[in-house]
Amino acid sequence: MKWITAWRRRPWAGYAVVLAALAIIGVAYAGASPRTDSAQASDTKTSEQDVAKGKALFSQACSSCHGMNAEGTKSAPSLIGVGAASVDFQVGTGRMPAMNPGAQIPRKKPIFNEQQTEELAAYIASLGGGPAVPSADQVDPSHADAALGGRLFRANCAQCHNFAGSGGALTGGKFAPSLDKATPKQIYEAMISGPQAMPVFNDTTVTPAQKRAIIAYVTQTRSEPNPGGNGLGRVGPVAEGLAGWLVGIGLMVVAAMWITARKPKKKHND
C-alpha cells in the first residue's frame, strides 16, 4: 500500500478526497431521496389518502375563492375538470393561492411543497378528469429537436413571449412573463392548461413531440450565452437604441468636450 502514502503526499490529494466525498454523498442522496419525477408520472395511481389530504388542504387555502367543493364562486372559476396539470402549474409556480387580485396573478415563491401540491392536484383530478401532470419523459428536452422547437415557438409563442422568451406586454395590464424561470414540466403544463390570458395548446394543435421540441428550444435559448456581448435584455431594437444614445452618443460627447477643452502644451498668456 505504498502508493497510497505516496498519493497522499501530492498537493492536490486533499482536493481530490473532498471531491470524491462530495460525489459519493451526492449519489447517495439522489438515490435516497424520493424520485419526484416518476412519482408525478401521469399514469401513477393517486391514492385515496392523497385525495383526502388534498381536500383538507383545499378547504383551508383555496375554498374561500374557489368554493367548498371547487365549484367556483364570484371571485374565482370552478376547478372541476381543469385537471391535475393546471393545479400543479398554478400551485407549483406560486400563482395559487392567489393573493391580491390585480390585472394578472403573478408567479411567486410557491407556498406548498411538492408533496402538498401533488395532494391538491390529486384532489382536483378526482373531481373530474382533465389533463394530468406530464411524465418526466414527456418533458425531457434532451432528445428533442430544438430547431423544430424554434420554428414552432416563433409561430405559436413568440408573439406574446418575444423571440427569446423574454416576455412582452399584453392588453389590459396583462403580460406574457419571461420564460426564464419555468421548469420543463411547467412549460408543458402551461401549454396544456393555458393559464389566464394564454391560450391552450392541446395535443392536436401542438403534438406532445412538438411540445418537447418547444421545451428544448426554450431551455436551450435561455441558457445559451450571448456571443455578441451583453444581450441587452434580449428585447430587441428598443434597448439597442437606448444603449446607442446613452453609451454611444454619451461617450462621444464627453470625448468632444475633452478634446476641445485640451490646449496644446505650450502655455499662452491671457
Binding site: A147, G168, G236, W245, A256, T260, A261
Partner: protein, 550 residues
C-alpha cells in the same frame, strides 16, 4: 503655434502637388483654416467618422453576404437552427456571425456605427437649429444635411432588411403595406419594387444594390458637398471676446485641429468597437428566419425608424371607402404625415424665418438658444412631437417594463402627441425669457459675489461685482431680433401694401412671434459688433488663431 505656413513635410507635399496640378494656393489656404473649439461643433464629425466606419465594415460584409432569396437548408455551426429552411441572405448572415473570423464583430460594429451615424446626425442638426446656424449663408448646407438625414434613415432601413430575419421581414411587410396604401399608384409601386408578390425573389437583391451602391454613392457625394461648402464658408462661432461676424477664432486646421480630428476619429472608432465587442446588436440567430406565419413581441425597427413605428401604433384604425377603393388612413397618415411635417418644416424653416423677419444679413455668429425664444420654442415643439412618437414606438416595451396596460400607453400617447408639444412650446418660451431677464440683470447689476455685508442699518445685502470681461462679451453678443420695417399705416390710416392680404397678415403675425419676447439688454444695442466691424485684429493670441472671413 500660430505659424501660418505649414512645416516642410507638408509644404513639400503641397509643392509636389503644385508643380503638377497648381494647387498650392488652395491647399495652403485650407491648411490655415480655423476651427472654433466648442464641443458642439464636433457633433457633425461623429457622423462623418461613423460613415467612414460604415463604408469600411460594410465592404467587409459584402465579401460574404449573399443577397439572395434562394432557399437553402442551414447546416452551419449554430446548431439551434440546424436543418431549418431559410433564404441565402439569412444563411449567409448567420455564417458571417458564426463562421467568418471576426464576422460577428464586423456586423456589430457596422450596426452600432449605423446607430451612431443617425444619432449623431440628429444631435448635430439640433445644434445647428437651436443656434440659428442654418441662417444665411448656410441655408444650402442645411438642406443638404436634411438630405443626408433622410437618406441615412433609408439606408439604415434597407440594411436592416437585408439579413431577412424575422424582424427585418416584419419591417419589410410594413414597408410593403405603406407602399400599397398610397392611393391610386400604391399597388403598382409595390409590384414594381418587389417584382411580384411579397416577399418575392427580387426585393432583397434590389435592396442590396441600393444599400451598398446607390445610397452610399449619393451620401458620399452629399457629404463631399457638405464639407466643401463648410470649408468655404467656415464654421459659425458663439459670440465672445473679440469674436465678430467677420472673423473666426479657434484652432488652425494644421496642425492643431488636424490632430484633434484624428484623435476624434479614433474615439469614434473606439466607441463603435467597444459597443461592437461588449453589446450585442441585432442577434438575428435569436430572431430566426422570416416566415410569413411568424411574429414576435418586441418587433421594432431601429431607433431612427421608431417615430414612424410609433405613429403607426397610435393611429386609430380609420379607413374610407371611395368608389370601391379603400383609402387606408390608418397606414397612410402615420407613414407620411409625421415625416412630412418634420422634414418639410425643417426644410422651409430658414426661408420662413428670413421672410418673417426680413433679415437678409449674413450670420456667422451663432445665437444662444435663449436669445431666439420663438425659434427655440418651435424647435422644442418639434422635438417633443418626435419624441412622443418615438416613445410610442416602444410602447410594448414600456408597458412590459413598467407594468402598465398596453391600451393605456396607446391612449396616453394619442393625447401626448398633441398636448406634449404645446406644453413644450409654452415652457421653453418662458424659460428663454427668464434666462434673458437674468442675463440683462447680470449685465446691469453684476453677478452675485457670494459676499454678504451688513449695512449700517442692520440690513444684509449681497455684494455684486461686474461681470467678467469674457462673460460680458458673451452676454453682449445677443443680437436684437429685427422687427420688420414697420410698414404700419400711412397718414390716412391705410396699411402699407406689404402688410395687407392674408399673406401680409401672416407675415406680420410671424414677425411678432419672432420678435415679441426679446428682452433688451439695453446700453445701446451691445451686440458684439462693438469691436468687430471694420477693424479686425488679425493677430491671434497664443495658440488661438483668428482669421478674417472671405
Amino acid at each position: 503655434m500660430s505659424t501660418a505656413t505649414p512645416p516642410k513635410a507638408i509644404d513639400g507635399t503641397i509643392g509636389f502637388a503644385d508643380e503638377r496640378f497648381g494647387t498650392a494656393g488652395f491647399l495652403r489656404g485650407k491648411m490655415k483654416k480655423v476651427f472654433p473649439d466648442h464641443w458642439s461643433f464636433m457633433l457633425g464629425e461623429i457622423a462623418l467618422y461613423s460613415f467612414i466606419i460604415l463604408l469600411a465594415t460594410g465592404t467587409f460584409l459584402t465579401l460574404w453576404f449573399k443577397p439572395s432569396m434562394g432557399e437553402v437548408i442551414y447546416h452551419g455551426s449554430y446548431t439551434k437552427l440546424d436543418g431549418v429552411n431559410m433564404s441565402e441572405a439569412y444563411d449567409s448572415t448567420l455564417r458571417i456571425s458564426f463562421d467568418v473570423r471576426g464576422g460577428l464583430l464586423m456586423r456589430q460594429i457596422h450596426h452600432w456605427a449605423a446607430v451612431l451615424f443617425l444619432a449623431s446626425i440628429m444631435v448635430h442638426m439640433l445644434r445647428v437649429f437651436f443656434t440659428g446656424s442654418y441662417r444665411k449663408p448656410r441655408e444650402v448646407n442645411w438642406l443638404i444635411g436634411l438630405g443626408l438625414f433622410t437618406l441615412g434613415i433609408l439606408e439604415g432601413l434597407f440594411g436592416y432588411s437585408l439579413p431577412d430575419d424575422l424582424l427585418s421581414g416584419t419591417g419589410l411587410r410594413i414597408t410593403q403595406g405603406v407602399m400599397q396604401s398610397i392611393p391610386v399608384v400604391g399597388t403598382y409601386i409595390f409590384y414594381f419594387a418587389f417584382g411580384g408578390g411579397f416577399p418575392g425573389h427580387d426585393f432583397i437583391s434590389r435592396l442590396y444594390t441600393v444599400h451598398v451602391l446607390l445610397i452610399p454613392g449619393i451620401l458620399l457625394a452629399l457629404v463631399g458637398a457638405h464639407f466643401m461648402i463648410l470649408w468655404h464658408q467656415g464654421h459659425t462661432q458663439f459670440s465672445g471676446k473679440n469674436r465678430t461676424e467677420k472673423n473666426v477664432i479657434g484652432k488652425p486646421f494644421f496642425p492643431v485641429f488636424m490632430i484633434k480630428a484624428g484623435a476624434f476619429f479614433m474615439f469614434t472608432f473606439a466607441v463603435t468597437a467597444l459597443l461592437g465587442t461588449f453589446a450585442q446588436i441585432n442577434p438575428i440567430w435569436l430572431f430566426g428566419p422570416y416566415t410569413p406565419d411568424s411574429i414576435t413581441a418586441g418587433s421594432q425597427p431601429d431607433f431612427y425608424m421608431g417615430f414612424l413605428e410609433g405613429a403607426l401604433r397610435i393611429m386609430p384604425n380609420w379607413e374610407t371607402n371611395l368608389w370601391g377603393h379603400t383609402i387606408p388612413w390608418n397606414v397612410l397618415v402615420p407613414a407620411l404625415l409625421p415625416l412630412g411635417l418634420i422634414m418639410t418644416g425643417a426644410a422651409l424653416w430658414p426661408f420662413i424665418e428670413q421672410w418673417a423677419t426680413g433679415d437678409k444679413k449674413i450670420h456667422n455668429l451663432a445665437d444662444r438658444p435663449r436669445n431666439a425664444p420663438f425659434r427655440t420654442a418651435v424647435g422644442m415643439t418639434a422635438v417633443t412631437f418626435y419624441g412622443m412618437l418615438w416613445l410610442a414606438g416602444g410602447n410594448d416595451i414600456l408597458a412590459d417594463k413598467f407594468h402598465v396596460s398596453l391600451y393605456a400607453t396607446t391612449w396616453f400617447f394619442r393625447g401626448a402627441v398633441f398636448v406634449g408639444p404645446v406644453i413644450a412650446y409654452v415652457v421653453t418660451k418662458r424659460l428663454c425669457v427668464g434666462l434673458q431677464r437674468s442675463d440683462a440683470a447680470e449685465l446691469h447689476h453684476g453677478v452675485e459675489a457670494g459676499v454678504i455685508t451688513m449695512l449700517p442699518s442692520g440690513e444684509f445685502v449681497e455684494m455684486h461685482q461686474p461681470v467678467k470681461e469674457d462673460a460680458e462679451a458673451v452676454l453682449r453678443g445677443k443680437q436684437e431680433l429685427p422687427a420688420i420695417e414697420d410698414a404700419g399705416e400711412d397718414a390716412n390710416g391705410i396699411p402699407a401694401p406689404s402688410s395687407r392680404g392674408p399673406l401680409g397678415k401672416a407675415r406680420k403675425a410671424l414677425n411678432n412671434a419672432f420678435t415679441a419676447d426679446d428682452i433688451s439688454i439695453g446700453n445701446g444695442h451691445g451686440n458684439g459688433h462693438g469691436n468687430g466691424h471694420g477693424e479686425h485684429p488679425e493677430a491671434g493670441t497664443g495658440d488661438h488663431k483668428e482669421l478674417s472671413r472671405g
